[in-house]
Symmetry: C2
Subunit: 391 residues, 2 copies
Amino acid sequence: MRNFTFYSPTEFVFGRKTEEQVGILLKKYGASKVLIHFGGGSIIKSGLLPRIETLLKAENIKYILFGGAQPNPRSGLVYQGIKLCKRENIDFILAVGGGSAIDSAKAIAAGAKYDGDFWDFFDGTAIIKAAIKIGVILTLPASGSEGSHRSVITKEEGMLKRGAGNEFIRPVFSIINPELTFTLPAYQTAAGIVDMMSHIFERYLTKTPNVDLTDRLCEATLVSIIEAGRKVMDDPYDYEARATLCWSGTIAHNGILGVGRVEDWATHQLEHELSARYDVTHGAGLAVMFPAYMKYALDTDINRFQRLAINVWGVESGSQTPTEIALNGISAMKTFFKKIGMPTSFSEIGALEKDIDFLVSKLFQGKSNNFGAFKSLTPEGARMVYRIACE
Amino acid sequence: MRNFTFYSPTEFVFGRKTEEQVGILLKKYGASKVLIHFGGGSIIKSGLLPRIETLLKAENIKYILFGGAQPNPRSGLVYQGIKLCKRENIDFILAVGGGSAIDSAKAIAAGAKYDGDFWDFFDGTAIIKAAIKIGVILTLPASGSEGSHRSVITKEEGMLKRGAGNEFIRPVFSIINPELTFTLPAYQTAAGIVDMMSHIFERYLTKTPNVDLTDRLCEATLVSIIEAGRKVMDDPYDYEARATLCWSGTIAHNGILGVGRVEDWATHQLEHELSARYDVTHGAGLAVMFPAYMKYALDTDINRFQRLAINVWGVESGSQTPTEIALNGISAMKTFFKKIGMPTSFSEIGALEKDIDFLVSKLFQGKSNNFGAFKSLTPEGARMVYRIACE
């Protein structure tokens, strides 16, 4: 186990009707003029937005509405949001939605307290030193952004997808009502399931020895996600299964499952190029990339993949070799992804084998020729993973 | 799953040599005059205290030393500490030690910002509304107090052991270096193991349905504690096993294993009377009380005890009945407690069967005639549990 700091100061308010506490929470955290940031019309149609407005009015909190957040959130919207915050003297941003709304809220929050171009934080030329406070009402469990200190934004110019973050952009509170996820389309629900699982895989795939406690916590959460995922696909109104997914998505990414170990995150970077190029939903891209990456990285630690197969996917050990068991685990994962309606190959998301060189060149743009902590990924390695994903 | 708030804002700084960051952390949290509160001479003998003093001097932080914390911390010391804080204008309390030092630090921190008698917080006649900030350097993983917002104090007059707490007394940081636990006596190590396991049992024993995710997280942590506990008893200098115990002890009690469910805590109250009456180490008292309580509560939910036996204690299901499996789990727990040197019956801690009526009368003093959320405990029920503990 390596040294670590675990710091997750977000106040998570979880359960039925908890969005009704939003006015009180905003007051508690000192909000006086709020930017409510959200995506498309679903939260208007569902009546959630008007309800939030009523709750803010009841506490005499001023607000302005700022919609337009979209999957793989874009820099253009962030620039608009920053301008709005500065002009309107916004002192709190309330993100209502999933990772897209939260991530663009985070970028806006940091950019509004910075004189330069907010993209400086994302291309690594500046560090966030202040941000407007952020709160969340979660409607899509997936990104874990409601409990993380990171944001991922795509710059339209060049379609570069990059991450940034530090403590200043961590939400001070996150309201998580599983009921708000009942009406999510099946595809978004499934993509969310893959997204949260992938946050655990990125932590599970480590070379750090003696991290059994966290390994077991990762496995426990993965098993719960798979079980709840199956239930939710059968009955979208299953509160308990929705609740399990919501809380799993949060703890998958608030740090608790990654303490004391070197995490990987190579597969996320491989996927970012897919969603930047084809605008595929992040979770769907991950469903394509994770089986491919795991096959590629199999020889790095066959015991770890064997353990994952047995403890999470329920593969019987029997008389099989460790490699057979590990590969059966990856097959079981692909079967599960397909079962919940996710793609598992390039062709299913409209990605083209002939684009692989382009994807790899984008992937290594501004990076050294070698990344990934579990199995070091070179341009040749990345090409190989993308090729496996074509199968 | 029930509605819940999960809020664990403590900054946990974990790993080798992390105590070297104490000066910087105190600065970060605005300390200018610190009360260093600790127990006996072990942290002086080990050289830890002089090292801490050097680190504070390096950051120009003023401090005064206040030792004397003892197991089952007493109100007398708390009164002294409060007087000292008020006289010396202390603005930060650094607890160095285990649950005793941390719990008395918490009571002092609250009492120093209160005009009345601090015991008001513990007998429920007042609520903590302010406290001096608290930081921790942990030397004994057991109580989980380094990540909790609770304190337990024994009032000498009448030997009443009672708990109190709220967010004001939660440590702002906790430094956890497993190396500092290498030299703990075996008995204290073992009592710590039982203590942290018991914090999970109190959460695991619930009647709230559909909490499988948290059940699995509880089981994962219990299995890790048992495995690491065995290793540490064989080799006290096993860093990885010590680290597993340290982090398990923290997450066992920072709330993450209890979200969404009604917790029990009846066994803790049963034990508090033992440690108040016989001054037995809390963990040792729990090793006596938990097997007895579980036998008493067996019929409340046989499936839960069966699951615990199989998933945590590795009991084979085979052709046994659920009751046999559950009882085998309790036996396995007793065997483990004995193996690590813990008592499992009244006689081993010098407790007397003839005192049971006295213990029960103390237990229900100032309480209604009925408590415990898993199996409701009446005076007759409590007598029965104590009687089972005599076996």
